[in-house]
Structure formats: C-alpha cells, structure tokens
C-alpha cells in the first residue's frame, strides 16, 4: 500500500503547470485534493511517472458569483463550497449534493473541480454539473477552452480533456429565482458512493411546469440527463401521477450496470423512486419560493 516512485513538481502558476503537462503528456497526473488519485496510487492501480501538484497555485483558490453563474477555481475545496453562503443562495442543489460527497475529512481536501476531472460515474458533482448544464474551463498549450458538461464526460473515469490540459474552473449556472430543487440518493452507508442519485430543478409558471431538469448519477458510464422525462413534465400541471410518469420515463432512459453493491434492476428501480421523491420535494420548494 505504498505508491510507486514519481517525479514531483509543484508549480506556482497555471502557465508552469500547463508547460509541465505539455512536456510530460499522459505520463503526468494532476494532483489537486488527491482524495481519488492518492488511493489509486497507494494501491498501485495508478502509477503516474510525474505528479503535477497544483496546490500552490493560489490564483485557482476561489469561489465567486459571476453574472448568474457560480465559478469555482480548481483549488476550491468541497468543504469550502459546502459551507459557502454563495452556494447556498445561488446553487443549493450543489450544496445539498456536496454534503453527501465522502466524509468531512475527504471534503476538507477534495476539490469540486477534481471530482469533475476524475469523472466517477457514481459521483454526485458530475451529475450536478450535468443537471444544471454547467461548463468547465480547460487551459492547455493551445489556449483556453470552455467544455459543456455533456461534452466533458465520455465514459467511466474518462473525460474529453487532453492529458496536456489543466481544468482550472467549473461554472455552475445559478438556479433562477423561484426554482425548486432537490438532490436525492441512496447509498449503503453515509458517505459511500451512491447506488443511484438524482438532481432536480423545477420552475413553475401559472401553476404549470415551465422548466424541468433531471440529472442522474450511478446509472450509467456518465451522468445522465433524462431528456424525455424532462420534456414530459414541461407544460403539465404537477401531480403524483405526473411524477410517476416521469419516474417511468427515467427508468426507460437509463441503462445501469449491476455490481456487488446493487443489481442493474435495483438501480433502475430506485432511479425512478428517487426521481419521484426529488420532483415532489422540488415542487414544495418552488411553491415556497413563489
């Protein structure tokens, strides 16, 4: 349980970090919070030849509201975001999901952006980014680009990032005023990866649903936006029957895998159950906010 030897670099600027990534390509791994990477290294499932530790790049340690979007730098710890008043005000879906990421000791080190870069298919934060239609910013040798959530996540633990790119920022669109939200998940124990989880955003206009967002984790190789279920809700009057129909649509849309923690059938089933519960809770919040 000791990591293999590696060459260690701790650059002070994004430019230096990108130059190191450019020089070492896929031999290098970026170390931010290290709460996913270091376990893999300790178990020698990962043996990067070069570690680029970005913890000294202080310009990446920020959390700010920026024109209706919450911008989090690559060094913003999950615990800092969880406790942030800005997150509570502008992006409560993110705050609710953060409280279920690992344990406090993990969140004290783990970063929001690092979780997105790791792209675990059962991670909460990837699904939140997908639900809200957020973006990430990547800086590479060719310059800076913005990547939408649906283009970032490719497969299990795989993103569309080039190995020579550094994720510097995540941008979560704030929920418009009057929008209800809910994050629901089922895990075996508190802090475990979810067997399935769902994030919902729900806006009402004149008693009908004006906008619905449903994003799921743990039910496929990437976070899933339940587009058909979302469409089935828009324009409809909220009711238990409507939630049940949306839950059925979600079950039809997801293709979970079974493993030792839960069968595919069970995951599909609870994806629907959680959707129903999340929609009901989001409706209550939307009405409270109206």
């Amino acid at each position: 349980m000791k990591p293999a030897a590696f060459e260690y670099h701790a650059p002070d600027t994004v430019e230096e970090a990108v130059a190191l990534l450019d020089a070492h390509g896929d031999q290098a791994k970026v170390l931010a919070g290290g709460q996913s990477l270091v376990p893999l290294m300790n178990m020698r499932l990962a043996r990067p030849a070069v570690i680029v530790d970005i913890n000294r790049i202080q310009t990446l340690n920020y959390l700010a509201e920026d024109g209706g979007t919450l911008a989090l730098g690559a060094l913003c710890r999950q615990r800092a975001a969880e406790r942030s008043a800005l997150v509570a005000r502008h992006c409560p879906l993110l705050g609710d999901a953060l409280a279920l990421v690992g344990h406090a000791q993990i969140r004290n080190r783990g970063t929001v952006v690092g979780s997105l870069a790791h792209a675990d298919p059962a991670a909460e934060l990837c699904a939140v980014l997908a639900t809200l239609g957020g973006t990430v910013t990547a800086v590479g040798p060719q310059g800076t680009r913005s990547i939408p959530a649906d283009e970032l996540f490719v497969s299990y633990l795989t993103t569309s990032l080039d190995p020579r790119e550094l994720l510097t920022e995540a941008r979560f669109p704030a929920l418009p005023r009057g929008t209800g939200w809910a994050w629901k998940e089922i895990a075996r124990r508190h802090g475990d990866f979810a067997l399935a989880g769902v994030g919902v955003g729900l806006a009402l206009r004149g008693g009908r649903i004006a906008e619905a967002r449903i994003g799921l984790t743990g039910v496929g190789a990437t976070p899933v936006r339940a587009a058909r279920a979302e469409r089935s809700l828009v324009g409809a009057v909220p009711s238990d029957a409507l939630w049940e129909a949306a839950a059925e649509a979600v079950r039809a849309e997801v293709e979970p895998d079974g493993d030792i923690h839960a069968s595919a059938e069970y995951r599909r089933h609870i994806a629907g159950v959680l959707t129903r519960r999340a929609l009901a809770e989001a409706l209550t919040r939307a009405r409270e906010a109206a």
Binding site: P39, E65, A80
Partner: protein, 220 residues
C-alpha cells in the same frame, strides 16, 4: 529517487527531515518524526485511523504526500493531552468505554476534536454523521457516540478546554516555514519518540478562525 527537504510543525514542535515525494504524510509523521500515535489502517482513505488536523482541518494523512505538508501546522493525537492530564475528549472516551482494542481511537479522537469545534452542540444523528468517516472494527460505535455527546457537554461548559485551531490559512495555502527556530527537531532515522515538552506546544488560541473569504474571487 531524490529526496526533498521537508519542514513542518506538529503539535507546536518544528520537524525537519528528508523524504521521497512518494512518502505519505502519515508515514513521515510515524517514521521520520517518531510520532506513532497516528495509526494506519487501510491506507486508501476509507478507515479514518490516520486522521490528523492540518491547519485546523481534519484530513486523512494517508492521502497526502509529506512534501505537500511543507510549512503546514499539524496536530496529531499526541497533542491532545496536557502532560498527564487527558483532553476532555480523551477523558470522555475513557469514561464511556469508547475504545476496545484502541487501534482506531487516535483517528476518532482527532475527528471528534474538529467535529465538536464545528458542531459544539450536536444531535445524536449529527454525531453519527460526523463520525461516519471513521471505522471501528470492534464495532463499539454506541459508546463512541455516547463519549462524543459527553465531551460536547464538557467542552460547552468550558469552551477553552482545548478545541484549538491553527491560524487561518486559505485552502491549499502553504505558509512560509518557521524553520530555524531553536525548537527545530531533526526528523531522521532514529525512531525515538519525540519528548513532549509543554514549552514547545502552541498555546490554545482564543481567536476563532475567521470564515473563509468564499465570496471573493481571488485573482492575482
């Protein structure tokens, strides 16, 4: 592989040593600083036995490399007791039989220290959630929960009883090292535990850690 110079502070004492970058902070604390109170269970961030405070935050020392703690202010289980006098949290664990084999206890104690600082009057549910990142293979959780509740009462009655916090540092900030002080201790091969002199300890700070400036965007 080349080694690097590492200087950090643990329980108020400065330690300086050399280690390969791949050496975890937990191993550095145990092997190079001689502080073996921090235990290693799973070594991949699940069991919580290696929990320490780094700049005031509870972290898993098996999931960091020692080089990353350069200049950091750490607190380990050895920093809890005041000489022969147990810390109120240790005392509560003792009184409530919150340890059986005791292997997980250092991690539980450090988690409890940070948890009660952040949640001084916890409900039982909050206690269970707060401890969820630590595993006890003897499964003595019931008494651990009781001990934490009792410690919360004691600390609430005497707020200066020991929940101390290092000076505020932004996330990931590496402060300048305080090497060169007379207290600097060579962390080396010698495995003798560091003698504990009260003079070398940091005094409990009456100043609470300011809130993180989460709302400000810091671009250099």
């Amino acid at each position: 592989m080349p080694t690097r110079e590492i200087t950090l502070r643990i329980n108020g004492t400065t330690y300086a040593g050399r280690a390969e970058p791949r050496k975890t902070l937990a191993d550095f604390i145990r092997e190079d600083c001689g502080l073996t109170g921090t235990h290693l269970g799973c070594e991949h961030g699940v069991c919580g036995a290696c929990t320490i405070l780094m700049d005031g935050d509870a972290v898993r020392s098996c999931l960091m490399f020692a080089v990353q703690a350069e200049g950091a202010e750490l607190m380990t289980v050895e920093g809890l007791a005041d000489g022969d006098r147990l810390h109120p949290i240790q005392q509560a664990y003792w009184e409530h039989h919150a340890l059986q084999c005791g292997f997980c206890t250092p991690g539980f104690l450090m988690t409890t220290l940070a948890f009660l600082r952040d949640t001084p009057r916890p409900t039982e549910r909050e206690i269970r959630e707060g401890l969820s990142g630590n595993l006890c293979r003897c499964t003595g959780y019931q008494n651990i929960v009781r001990a934490v509740a009792a410690a919360a009462d004691v600390l609430a009655a005497a707020p200066d009883a020991g929940v101390r916090r290092a000076p505020a540092l932004p996330d990931g900030c590496v402060p300048p090292t305080s090497a060169g002080a007379a207290k600097t201790r060579a962390a080396g091969r010698a495995r003798t535990p560091a003698p504990k002199g009260r003079t070398a300890k940091t005094k409990p700070s009456a100043r609470p850690k300011p809130k993180r400036p989460a709302g400000r965007r810091r671009r250099a």
